[in-house]
């Protein structure tokens, strides 16, 4: 065997070993969720269910206990949906307009403002938790889905603005100038010229915001009330509810339910998700 073949074999062995390492937890989650507790005890982490059942999924969805409530994850899932749709839409729309102004209608101080805004992408949100809960109280939207939407929209403005601004910087200024000579104004240029060219960045931003807001736990646990808790909080409560018998199969089914929406988006549009990840890291 030539050296090149050996090298190739070693390379593939390493690649597949890593693939196995990344996939194992998902495999364990899925197989565990399809077992009943007897199969969980008799088998092991890697064993396939001997008699697959969806009972844990049904229980996780509609009757598992999260603390003292025993209504499953369904209400939490609905809260997350109600929260994520408006929050993603509004924060993305604001980001598009801000990015348009910051790239094509710069004014004195706009660059400085952008730099100040950028810190919001990185800052630890712990510093805003205490004051924000007071503000939400004054506005009368503490412990409600509305409060969560407001927080997610404002907290999302720095990153959505960053995404659109960096994308629009790459659009030639001549497009805007030519349109102005034709007598088009600020809004007309935006809706007729800039927006139709924005599809890729729009998808990136929508996916990025959706994934982040769906997966958020910190705001969810701090700002929500009894009937506005998002799915991540529901899952955490479910998995940490102490009962006489720990039902790991139900925990795993619940984790899968919480993971499916973002996993689905990732599988369908992973390319755009990765672009968001790298755009969020490498600025300027």
């Amino acid at each position: 065997m030539s050296r090149a073949v050996v090298h190739r074999a070693l390379l593939w062995a390493a690649l597949l070993l890593f693939a196995a390492w990344f996939l194992t937890p998902l495999y364990v989650m899925l197989t565990t969720s399809l077992k009943d507790m007897q199969q969980v005890r008799e088998g092991n982490l890697l064993s396939l269910p001997s008699d697959p059942t969806l009972a844990s999924w049904a229980k996780a969805w509609s009757s598992a206990c999260t603390g003292i409530d025993c209504g499953g994850l369904k209400p939490f899932f609905m809260n997350s949906l109600l929260m994520v749709v408006p929050a993603v839409a509004v924060s993305t729309a604001i980001g598009a307009i801000n990015g348009y102004v910051l790239s094509k209608w710069r004014f004195r101080g706009s660059e400085t403002m952008f730099a100040m805004l950028l810190f919001g992408v990185f800052m630890p949100m712990q510093v805003v938790l205490l004051p924000m809960s007071q503000v939400l109280g004054w506005l009368g939207i503490a412990s409600s889905i509305w409060g969560l939407i407001v927080v997610h929209v404002i907290a999302g403005i720095p990153s959505t603005t960053l995404f659109f601004r960096n994308y629009y910087v790459g659009l030639p200024d001549e497009l805007v100038k030519a349109a102005m000579l034709d007598g088009a104004g600020f809004w007309r240029i935006f809706t007729r010229i800039v927006l139709p060219l924005s599809t890729p960045i729009l998808v990136v931003t929508l996916i990025w915001q959706f994934t982040n807001i769906w997966n958020d736990f910190l705001y969810g646990v701090v700002f929500s009330g009894a009937d506005s808790k998002p799915i991540t909080v529901g899952l955490n409560n479910l998995a940490n509810t102490s009962s006489s018998v720990k039902e790991y199969n139900v925990d795993m089914a619940a984790a899968m339910i919480a993971a499916l929406p973002t996993l689905f988006v990732y599988i369908v549009a992973g390319k755009y998700f990765v672009r968001g990840l790298t755009a969020g890291a490498v600025k300027g």
Binding site: L117, L130, I154, F217, N236, N240
Partner: protein, 287 residues
């Protein structure tokens, strides 16, 4: 660039004002709370640096800081090392690169709560890995790190690295793809071996990507909260507390608002120390 009139300014003004107020206004407000005598309720009586003195005298916060050092080193080091390795492996003209990349990166699409719940099951001493290895015939095998106060923090690092290594890979891979091919070809003509090309040419030219990745991953380490909450909830006792979980416990369940605000300010200072120089250099280079 188009000369700005009043309209663009007016359009961005509300959202800018809101976001900047959210960031800097609330930071200042939190800073003031940290200098106040607040306990169960906000109390704006000025108390100087009392809360900070209490904070650094608190054993729990010291545990949180030393945990952050341990977790941060393992998490950042592990994710960077595995991420770089994966990027180099994937850079070898692999036919199934797209599929492998999708597999390596999918954990980033999951919530840390999902990851934490899954790893809690895998690492649990009853029916998890311990049970599996015993069934394989190693009867005396024990693996109880998750409930061992001295070792539980390593479990959090394992799950964290698992989640973030693919992200680091994506950044490094993008960096590798951005390097001019002709340098590599020239080195090959000179007879340089592949490891030598990576070590001497490619990895050094990844330096900017390396720093931005290091910055992003380290600031994630400081902000880590969800993963700990799902995996150990800071336990056993407060053995796996990190500053973020300490802040949450003090501010929202222990009725120590001033102390919580002070710990949040410490976190802010740590993140700012990493991020501000980076942002400054990024924005300056561009001009």
């Amino acid at each position: 660039m188009v000369r700005a009139s009043w309209l663009p300014k007016l359009v961005v003004a509300p959202s800018f004002a809101l976001a900047l107020l959210f960031i800097y206004g609330l930071i200042a407000w939190n800073g003031y709370l940290s200098l106040s005598a607040s306990r169960l309720l906000p109390n704006y009586e000025f108390a100087g640096f009392d809360q900070y003195v209490n904070l650094f005298e608190s054993e729990r916060f010291r545990v949180a800081l030393s945990n952050m050092a341990v977790f941060g080193t393992l998490f950042v080091g592990g994710a960077m090392a595995i991420g770089l390795l994966l990027a180099i492996l994937l850079d070898q003209k692999i036919r199934a690169e797209g599929v492998l990349r999708t597999i390596y990166l999918y954990p980033m699409a999951l919530s840390f709560i999902v990851t934490g719940t899954a790893w809690k099951w895998i690492l649990n001493p009853g029916l998890g890995v311990e049970h599996l290895v015993r069934q394989w015939g190693f009867e005396g095998f024990t693996f109880d790190w998750l409930i061992d106060p001295d070792k539980a923090i390593y479990c959090i690092a394992i799950a964290g690295v698992w989640q973030s290594a693919g992200f680091v890979m994506a950044l490094f891979l993008a960096g590798l793809r951005g390097i001019d091919d002709s340098i590599v070809k020239a080195a090959q003509v000179d007879g340089a071996s592949l490891p030598r090309i990576y070590w001497r040419i490619l990895i050094p030219s990844l330096r900017p990507v390396f720093f931005s990745t290091l910055m992003v991953v380290s600031h994630l380490a400081i902000k880590s909260f969800d993963l700990v909450m799902a995996l150990t909830a800071g336990g056993p006792g407060f053995a796996t507390d990190l500053p973020a979980t300490f802040m949450y416990a003090m501010a929202f369940s222990r009725g120590q608002i001033g102390l919580g605000a002070a710990s949040a300010t410490v976190m802010l200072a740590l993140v700012a120390a990493i991020v501000v120089p980076y942002l400054y250099s990024e924005l300056r280079v561009k001009k």
